[in-house]
């Protein structure tokens, strides 16, 4: 394979890691029936905090832990406000995203443009030597491998464990889950905290691995993209992973076109392409247009295709559950 293409694919795997981690975090949050809209601000704040802590202490582990704690804390605020005060999850999430973004700007100004530490490169012996696949998947650092394993883990957890079944129950029909003996609120807190921690980890992945260092607004917009990818992916781990790679792949393509002067289009126009394509795909998948085209698929393959194109949100998403 062309070495340029192989290295581009490896770049896509690396650059998509934070989006992948954040969107998988939001996936489990939404599967538990809670919308955490604070992703964009949380990723910014976590990225800044991870860099600042690592810069000051020299400990990468500490930076990552602090970023995850920040993500967890913000997510817990969203669910606590919803559960205890019955506040609108969207409103709280939106205010928190703006607040976290401003906090990252204010406290991060000392670290802007500073040289920091990077997560060490850790190729996996033997596997790294496999032609093409080795370079694309096994010549990265530990956070990138984690992002790949996370997709498989969340898929297994959600669809192949008893706890995963109860997770889906929390988002689809909490009352039924409660009757079956699931402690709805407690488990929602657990999943939202875990999802928030992953969002925080996504921030750390940006500042310590993908976009090294900190600069004001350096990850701005990626939280919103992660939220959109969850819808694009129909609340399914592998489709979400595909969405993350698709978006990052488009960005890489735009950069390639610009460098090679292939299309002779300004970068601003090329930058619009992922958003246009995402909107078109969202409309295609969520409007039912895709399903109406299923008649063109041979009947034998129709159920599988229907399942693939399905994009139904958890039925109780955004709602609060209360015993009375």
């Amino acid at each position: 394979m062309d070495p340029v293409l192989t290295s581009t694919l490896a770049d896509i795997v690396r650059n998509a890691a934070p989006l992948l981690i954040a969107s998988q975090g939001e996936l489990i949050t939404e599967r538990a029936g809670v919308v955490n809209l604070s992703l964009d601000g949380t990723i910014l704040l976590a990225a800044m905090a991870a860099f600042a802590v690592t810069y000051n202490t020299g400990s990468l582990g500490m930076g990552i832990v602090v970023a995850m704690l920040i993500g967890m804390l913000v997510a817990l605020i969203v669910i606590s406000a919803s559960v205890f005060l019955k506040l609108n999850q969207i409103a709280v999430g939106f205010v928190l995203t703006l607040l976290c973004a401003d906090l990252s700007t204010f406290f991060g100004r000392k670290y802007s443009g500073q040289q920091g530490t990077e997560i060490p490169y850790a190729p996996i012996p033997i596997l790294e030597d496999i032609p093409v696949i080795g370079e694309v998947f096994f010549q990265h650092n530990i956070l990138i491998y984690f992002s790949l394993l996370l997709v498989i883990f969340i898929w297994l957890w959600t669809y192949h464990t008893r706890l995963g079944l109860s997770l889906r129950g929390l988002g689809e029909h909490p009352a039924a889950a409660y009757v079956r003996g699931t402690r709805v609120q407690a488990w929602r807190f657990v999943y939202v905290a875990a999802g928030g921690a992953l969002v925080g980890l996504a921030g750390a992945t940006y500042s310590l691995s993908v976009k090294l260092g900190w600069r004001e607004g350096s990850t701005l917009g990626n939280g919103w993209i992660a939220l959109a990818i969850v819808i694009f992916g129909g609340w399914r781990p592998f489709r979400i992973a595909f969405g993350a790679y698709f978006i990052v792949g488009l960005r890489a393509l735009a950069l390639y076109f610009q460098q090679e002067d292939v299309l002779n289009l300004p970068i601003q126009i090329i930058n619009m392409t992922p958003w246009v394509l995402m909107l078109v795909t969202l409309i295609f998948v969520t409007s039912g247009l895709a399903e109406s085209l299923l008649v063109l698929v041979p009947p034998r393959w129709r159920p599988a295709a229907q399942n693939l194109l399905r994009a139904k949100p958890p039925a109780a998403l955004g709602s609060n559950f209360e015993r009375s």
Partner: protein
Amino acid sequence: MTAFRKILIQISRNTVLGILPLLVGILVALAAILLILNNENVELRAVYDLIYERTLSLPENRANVVDFWLPILLCCCGLLLTFTAGLWNIGIEGQITMGAVGATSIALFVELPRNEQIFTELFMAGAAGGTWALFTGIMRTRGGVNEIFGGVAMNFLASSFSSYLLVAPWSPPNATGSATVRFPANAILPSMDDYRLSPITIYITLTAFIFVLLTLSGSRWGLQLRAMGKNEKSAQMLGVPTERNIWLAMLICGIMAGLAGGHLVLFRRANLPANVSGGIGFLSLLVVLLASIRVRWVPFVSFAFALLYSAGLPLRTRLQLDASLIGIFLGILVFCVLIFDGVRQRLKERVEQRKLLAASGGEKSPPPSTVEIQIGQEASSGSGSN
């Protein structure tokens, strides 16, 4: 006790309880800012003095605050309609940007007599903002794309499009793509003699506010929007034309945001800069959230926000503090108000439950059952979902 006194006590109790979350929110936000300032070795008094000096001390500074306030209030007016209908028009930043682009397209390339020129520019600003918002509305109703994500995407598209115009077709010779050339004098909105304020923008904003006030408080359409905000599906079942109302609310909000964008380029800047909206759309969303969709509060809250925001730049130059400090203060304030308003509501509910229990002679409630409480609009329409 006379009935009149009872009513007076009730009114004053309701007012106090209504304002309490705001007061607590201000106190908590101030305490947080105090902590931050202490950490930065800056006195609160110095910040206060600077804000006062740059905003209220001189007539021209006061006029500057009002000039900053008008587009925010205009955006808030539009957002009141969409919020009442349960729509999160996060795409308002993009609508402001497109309004500014629309106005610029006329200001730079069309030459008409003064009045026609201004009218055409403002018309284009409103049309561009309105169309941009309408896209989001159509995507919501026909494409199943939630307005939050549709709006975010439209924001990015508007921002990229405006950047493209600045670096390519509208870029002045030998420029870096940060702004267009200054508009000709004929294209700029007229100013008052004594203060640098645009009477046209004042009239537009005043008209918009009265329109929204009357619409929401005393019209059939306002009632329909309220019903949709409570539960869109139920409203639809009761015969409310929800799709048409969503389009109309988004369109009007977009027009108002577009006009705000038009004001920014046709008066405040006299050219089209990069990032023209400067976050005033999100600021307006915070205002409407803080005012909890109470129309009468919005002008005061938006003025307070404008006053604080217009003092942001001097903070950086004079006290080496980042302008984001104001954003932190406002963020904490809105967050605390939301939280304490939630606390107040829950306490009120608990008191009412106790009263009911006492009235029923202390009988216990029926055996436990599970109920689901739908929070806001997103529950019925599937927020963050499609």
